[in-house]
């Protein structure tokens, strides 16, 4: 385990993240142009999709079936567990609980990629169809959590309010659904999958040096920015409290273990189960924040952004992924 941890910590990805974090802590002026950040994330998602699509063209639907089912199950369970823990134990408001739960019900693409690279480095590559599972996990959790939030708020609102104030008008679910399904990350991932599937190995060949050769380097640069962004939120840890700090590290372990178990049960390899665990454990910080902000404006963004980005993301990158890997290895053997 220690050796695995060391390898993980000395990977360019972790080091770049730590460098970004460090730069923020010493209050350096370093920042990546916003457009570079956006460009890198477009590149990473599209590359992920293309590669996944090409590999999907080799996969049989039979192999994919059970993993897909358990992924969807994870997409329904994880937002509920997160909501319940936050509301019952953490005593957060309905909006804050639902808002944070939406993040933990969805998935962080960078955590996914980091897990994929990690198991590959150790010689346990995950199944080629994993990016397909990623797209399946991205949106359901957000909707489940926002749905819970809407229903619970409606229940409260039916009781007259002491201060006579009105709840915010809800946006029609259709609108939100359209937004999430046509979101940048969805189009790039699903679109990339489709394009990769159609072009196949042969069409992919000429663009491989760009989309595959540059991938890890671009990821390193991206992680530098993630470190900067996480570092900028470190100061908020004081105001968000100890409960959220614990939540942001224990919830991933629970969700991650569940993911590994279900993955193993559905027939995934050690690498695949690890990656599914990391996906379940991760909290979205691309798709979820705008959806939550627009649908549940009463939820405090500081809480969900800090939890997802400054606590759970680094936890998974540094400690979580190696843990899920050990678990997957134990189960397999």
């Amino acid at each position: 385990m220690l050796e695995v941890l060391r390898i993980n910590l000395c990977s360019p990805i972790s080091l770049a993240f730590v460098l970004g974090l460090f730069a923020r802590i010493i209050r350096s002026e370093l920042s990546l142009p916003r457009e570079l950040y956006a460009s890198l994330s477009i590149y990473l998602l599209l590359a992920l999709g293309l590669k996944g699509g090409v590999e999907l063209s080799h996969a049989s639907m039979a192999e994919l079936a059970w993993p897909a089912v358990v992924t969807l199950v994870l997409g329904v369970i994880t937002p509920c567990t997160a909501y319940l823990v936050l509301r019952r134990i953490g005593r957060f408001s309905i909006a804050d609980s639902a808002g944070i739960a939406a993040h933990y019900g969805s998935v962080s693409a960078v955590t996914f990629i980091a897990a994929q690279q990690f198991v590959q480095t150790l010689g346990f590559p995950a199944e080629g169809f994993m990016p397909t599972l990623l797209t399946l996990l991205e949106s359901p959790g957000i909707h489940v959590a926002l749905g819970i939030g809407a229903v619970q708020t409606a229940r409260m609102a039916s009781q007259p309010r002491a201060d006579g104030s009105h709840p915010v008008e809800r946006r029609p679910l259709k609108e939100v659904l359209h937004e999430v399904l046509t979101a940048r990350s969805m189009i790039l991932l699903v679109g990339g999958l489709a394009c990769g599937f159609v072009m196949g190995e042969k069409g992919y060949e000429p663009v491989k040096p760009f989309f595959e050769g540059m991938f890890k380097g671009a990821l390193t640069l991206f992680l530098l920015e993630m470190g900067l962004a996480a570092g900028a939120r470190l100061g908020d840890l004081k105001s968000t409290g100890l409960f959220l700090l614990a939540f942001g590290m224990i919830m991933p372990i629970l969700h991650g273990s569940l993911g590994v178990f279900l993955g193993h049960w559905a027939g995934l390899s050690i690498g695949g189960a690890t990656v599914l665990g990391a996906m379940a454990a991760s909290a979205s910080y691309i798709a979820a924040p705008p959806a939550v902000r627009m649908t549940l404006p009463e939820a405090n963004p500081t809480l969900y952004l800090t939890a997802a980005l400054a606590i759970t993301f680094p936890f998974n990158i540094v400690l979580g992924i190696p843990i899920y890997f050990q678990l997957a290895r134990m189960l397999a053997g």
Binding site: R34, Y37, V168, E169, E225, A229, A232, Y285, I286, P289, P290, R293, M294, P297, E298, P301, L305, L309
Partner: protein, 100 residues
């Protein structure tokens, strides 16, 4: 040149609101608008960086009535939950009918 006095409504706030605010002002009768990206800080100390996007400044030249209507909508539906401010300033335009 002969100029007509009108009102410039400036709305500054979360960039995410872009589409919603455009819909609001068009529904209220604005005939055009201009949007600029910006950043800032106010009473909410909202620092969200990349994840929720930057602020935006939406400016529209409108009649005083439309400006007033929009201030009402903003103050009812946006100020309570979103990091948004708005102010009015007097402007003079030529071709005044273009804006009302």
């Amino acid at each position: 040149m002969h100029t007509v006095p009108l009102t410039l409504l400036t709305i500054i706030g979360e960039g995410l609101l872009r589409e919603r605010l455009i819909t609001e002002i068009e529904r209220a009768g604005a005939k055009g608008y201009t949007i600029t990206e910006c950043s800032g800080s106010g009473s909410r100390h909202r620092r969200v960086g990349e994840l929720l996007g930057e602020n935006m400044k939406l400016e529209c030249v409108v009649s005083p009535e439309v400006a007033d209507k929009l201030l009402g909508i903003l103050s009812d539906e946006y100020f309570p939950h979103f990091a948004v401010i708005a102010y009015l300033s007097p402007v003079s335009v030529i071709r005044g009918d273009k804006y009302v």
